[in-house]
């Protein structure tokens, strides 16, 4: 790589921008689809745009240390705003554009933002509505002028006008540009580069301060790790205020010099993806799940011949696809079949999904089902997992090519130091580690250990091959009476990966064994019942059917076999289970509105069932109050059967081999 030593000199994003304009001046930096046509800016054009805006902002009174809120979706101008603000030594603060006014008010007030750069009328309206509560907010700059013509423009400015004023300044005096660049070179790596507010799922949002040198340093490591270069391309569709977007697109883009494409709108992402064909891609598991469902639905509608070709070659892919991707030895005939499949099925499919050119793809955020993960990998898509946090500026661990597994999150990234605390919590020190929460020393202190490690709040452990496995939130992890580690969510997820298990609730903390409640998936099991001519009148009846119970027992046994293979988890195999007589429901308070199980509440509500599980009874009568969809309340009585499940020896090798 050219000038490696010179590269290391750039420790802020504006410095990288200057470098990229010099190094890759004519290469694309940004694309945006406007009026149906992809518009492209080269690095030198982008530098000019950023500079014009930056000078305009300064003319509006922005100074070093000032805070600028950025609200909107992935628009080139909003990305330029980051660089323009950073060039002045001021700090950009991206805010979730779908945030309700209350949340937005909190962030802007807490950050003491004096300016806001926003996408359109919707955001302008929100901020104008909050004007009384944000006395420090002096200027609002907007990108899209639709519907804003008749607004009072004393504190409101079109993006173009700000740039124009910057341009005329630069034109009037050549020294201005030189001074602007000089100011960038004087910027220090220890300056705060950005403050990212974590979305407030638990209490009030916290502003994670990240310094420039750490951001750039972390991005350097991962760019090298995945060998990203200026020839790569991404589609930026994740929320601007999320650490993932800021890292994956803005930071890596600046470091590697690759091109960021902005979709036309949130609904057009699928089409834009196909047209751009990114080489680097990130999506949370649910996006992949949605894509798989779409593909399957489309195949259901296809003709018989097409369906047969598809299922034949998907079997080929299932057998050999991942091995071929990982460069493992595969028989020649299988390679031949795979190549044919690539021509007929995988290639066209990837093209439709926009995955034809993908070199590196990541997923993270939650556990991904092994079948789902394998499906995409077997098509030849290099999908990997990573684990990270806003406080780490994203990456803590990632899977290197060729060492990809569905159930782990990878090896520690370069220069990342990970330690597992006694309670199983994952602690880390990393190059991109945050500098603290903005204006909140107490919280910062709470999050760091005495020797300066960040506490993630997640429990996990290292596998024999050095890959980290995340099992649960640390606070939910408990111990069986004999001291064995018990991670309820880990067990529940394993069960939920079976399509006919809808929900699972595991108990075991401070008890002598692990027991679970199951909910069957009515759609999936109902289909099965129809195919096998099993009549049923209700969920309860189907859930109690001996064949269903047998299937569930098989699943639980399979999970036990899986658990036995993992030395850390083998002790927490499931001893007994039952299938609940009703579906867990948010209306009854058993699930949160985001469909997460409320374990404690469920344990209380079904106390008789728990007692029966742990007392060794084989069945139990229970009456439960339920709320119907129309709001009426009723009572549901049932006799629930309880089954014991075979457990495996800890090394489990023999059983696991089957």
């Amino acid at each position: 790589m050219a000038g490696d030593t010179a590269r290391l000199a750039e420790d802020t994003f504006p410095k990288l921008l200057l470098r990229n304009a010099a190094l890759f001046g004519d290469r694309p930096a940004m694309r945006e689809k406007d009026l149906g046509i992809w518009q492209t800016w080269t690095w030198s054009q982008m530098l000019e745009e950023v500079r014009a805006f930056s000078l305009g902002l300064r003319a509006l009174g922005l100074q070093a240390g000032g805070k600028v809120a950025i609200v909107g979706s992935n628009r080139p101008r909003l990305y330029w705003t980051f660089a323009a603000v950073q060039s002045l030594g001021a700090v950009p603060i991206p805010v979730y554009s779908d945030a309700v006014a209350e949340e937005m008010a909190f962030v802007l007030k807490h950050a003491e933002a004096t300016m806001a750069v926003v996408e359109d009328q919707e955001q302008v309206d929100k901020l104008i509505g909050l004007a009384k509560r944000l006395p420090k907010l002096k200027h609002i700059i907007y990108d899209d002028d639709r519907g804003l013509k008749n607004y009072d423009h004393t504190t409101l400015h079109p993006f173009d006008d700000v740039q124009d004023s910057g341009r005329s300044l630069a034109k009037a005096d050549a020294g201005v540009v030189a001074a602007w660049e000089k100011h960038i070179h004087e910027g220090k790596g220890s300056d705060t580069s950005v403050i990212l507010y974590t979305s407030g799922t638990t209490g009030q949002s916290k502003g994670v301060m990240l310094t420039a040198e750490r951001c750039v340093g972390a991005a350097r490591d991962t760019v090298a790790f995945d060998r990203l270069t200026e020839t790569d391309e991404t589609l930026a569709y994740l929320p601007l205020a999320w650490v993932g977007d800021h890292y994956l697109n803005y930071a890596q883009g600046m470091v590697a010099g690759f091109c960021i494409a902005c979709p036309e709108g949130p609904e057009t992402v699928a089409v834009d993806l196909k047209e751009i064909g990114p080489t680097f891609y990130f999506a949370p598991p649910r996006v992949f799940e949605g894509l798989l469902t779409q593909v399957m639905i489309r195949m259901e509608d296809a003709g018989a011949l097409k369906r047969r070709i598809f299922s034949y070659f998907m079997d080929v892919a299932k057998q050999h696809g991942e091995a071929i991707l990982d460069g493992k030895p595969v028989p020649f005939s299988a390679r031949l079949k795979y190549a044919l499949g690539n021509m007929l099925v995988y290639g066209p499919l990837k093209n439709v999904l926009g995955f034809s050119r993908i070199r590196v793809a990541y997923t993270a955020g939650e556990a991904i089902g092994p079948d789902l993960f394998s499906f995409f990998r077997s098509l030849g898509i290099n999908l990997k997992q990573l684990y990270g946090q806003t406080e780490a500026f994203l990456y803590v661990t990632a899977q290197p090519d060729g060492a990809v597994r569905a159930d782990t999150v990878g090896l520690p990234m370069a220069n990342v130091d990970i330690r597992i605390a006694d309670n199983g919590e994952v602690l880390f020190k990393s190059p991109g580690m945050f500098a603290g929460y903005y204006k909140d020393k107490a919280k910062t202190k709470e999050t760091l250990t005495k020797d300066g490690y960040v506490m993630t709040g997640d429990a996990g452990f290292f596998e024999a091959d050095g890959q980290l496995k995340i099992i649960d939130r640390a606070k939910d992890v408990g111990k069986l009476k004999d001291g064995t580690l018990f991670a309820p969510k880990y067990i529940e997820n394993k069960l939920k990966f079976f399509p006919d298990v809808k929900e699972a609730v595991a108990f075991g903390d401070q008890r002598d064994k692990v027991c679970v409640f199951l909910n069957i998936d009515l759609t999936s099991v109902g289909n099965w019942a129809e195919r096998n001519n099993i009549a049923y009148a209700s969920y309860q009846e189907l859930a109690n059917h001996p064949d269903v119970l047998a299937t569930m027992e098989k699943h639980v046994r399979q999970v036990n076999a899986d658990l036995a293979r993992e030395p850390q988890m083998a002790g927490a195999q499931i001893a007994r289970f039952l299938v609940l007589h009703k579906e867990l429901d948010a209306d009854d308070g058993e699930l949160t509105r985001t469909q997460k199980v409320r374990r404690g509440f469920i344990a209380e509500r079904y106390q008789p069932l728990i007692d029966a599980l742990y007392s060794g009874k084989n069945e139990c009568d229970i009456t439960t109050e339920v709320t119907y969809e129309d709001g009426r309340k009723g009572k549901l009585s049932a006799r629930v059967k309880i089954r014991d499940v075979e457990r495996f020896a800890a090394n489990g090798m023999k059983e696991a081999a089957e």
């Binding site: 689809k33 009026l35 149906g36 639709r146 519907g147 008749n150 036309e264 709108g265 609904e267 057009t268």
Partner: protein, 267 residues
């Protein structure tokens, strides 16, 4: 804002004037002796219970029907016996109650057909695919893309409209009418069959069209609430006769209108 737009509706120039129009189908009177006007830049609603003659009125303005009596004056010029495609070339565009889109064609192509009347090169030029015709096509495509952007339908640009949900089809149809850059836009029950959210969206688009492009709009609507919020002035028809005309407030206070809507069963 142009000077015209700052004037209240009652002070502006008259765009279309309907004088003593009567229309009957084989002896059955659909419209009896109706007169009203539409002024430049206003949103004018024509309301009334079912069978009041609203759609017939629109069809008369549009040239689908020819009234037996009365005159229609558009932009100061009397227009006897106007044919639908002439209405289109003279700046009147419309949408239909039951959506009349080209179902097999994409959203983009549908809206492009709306530009037909504005294309200078005639069809034969086009067939030869000459340079000027191609340049013209590109200009028109750009105008259409602006409409697509305006109506926020980028994601269905290439989708055949037959496959779209109802609400989006209505929006495409509005787009096609807008593409003609009409001076008078006729909307036949633009919100029929929509849910609340879709109605709100459509209302916003109608208001935006009016304020952004200054287009004069005449609309028929069943939903009284929506009409009163949208319109500058309202004409009320009942059994083919005009029973009220004025601002929404005036119409609301009109006893005949109240009777027509509440007192007399109108099914």
């Amino acid at each position: 804002m142009s000077l015209v737009e700052t004037l209240p509706a009652s002070q502006r120039d008259i765009l279309l004037k309907v004088d003593n129009i009567s229309l009957s189908f084989g002896g059955v009177k659909a419209i009896t002796n109706i007169s009203f006007d539409i002024r430049v830049g206003e949103i004018r609603a024509i309301i009334g219970p079912n069978g009041a003659g609203k759609t017939s009125m629109l069809n008369v303005i549009n040239g689908f029907y020819h009234p037996q009596e009365g005159t229609i004056t558009f932009e100061g010029v009397p227009r006897p016996r106007m044919r639908p495609h002439h209405a289109a070339t003279h700046g009147v565009a419309r949408t239909f109650q039951n959506i009349a889109l080209f179902r097999g064609m994409s959203t983009l192509d549908n809206i492009m057909t709306g530009r037909g009347t504005l294309m200078k090169r005639n069809l034969l030029w086009q067939a030869l695919w000459t340079g000027p015709a191609e340049r013209e096509e590109i200009e028109h495509r750009e105008a259409v893309e602006k409409i697509i952007d305006f109506l926020e339908i980028q994601h269905i640009r290439k989708t055949p409209v037959g496959r779209l949900p109802y609400g989006l089809q209505k929006r495409v149809e509005l787009g096609r009418a807008l593409a003609a850059e009409p001076r008078l836009l006729l909307l036949d029950e633009p919100m029929a069959g929509m849910n609340r959210e879709e109605k709100e969206d459509m209302s916003r688009f109608i208001l935006d069209v009016n304020s952004q492009f200054g287009t004069t709009i005449a609309l028929i609507e069943h939903d009284m609430g929506v009409v009163m919020d949208l319109s500058d002035r309202v004409v009320v028809l009942d059994y083919g006769k005009k029973i009220g005309d004025g601002t929404p407030d005036e119409v609301r206070a009109n006893q005949d209108v109240i009777d027509a809507y509440l007192g007399v069963p109108h099914e």
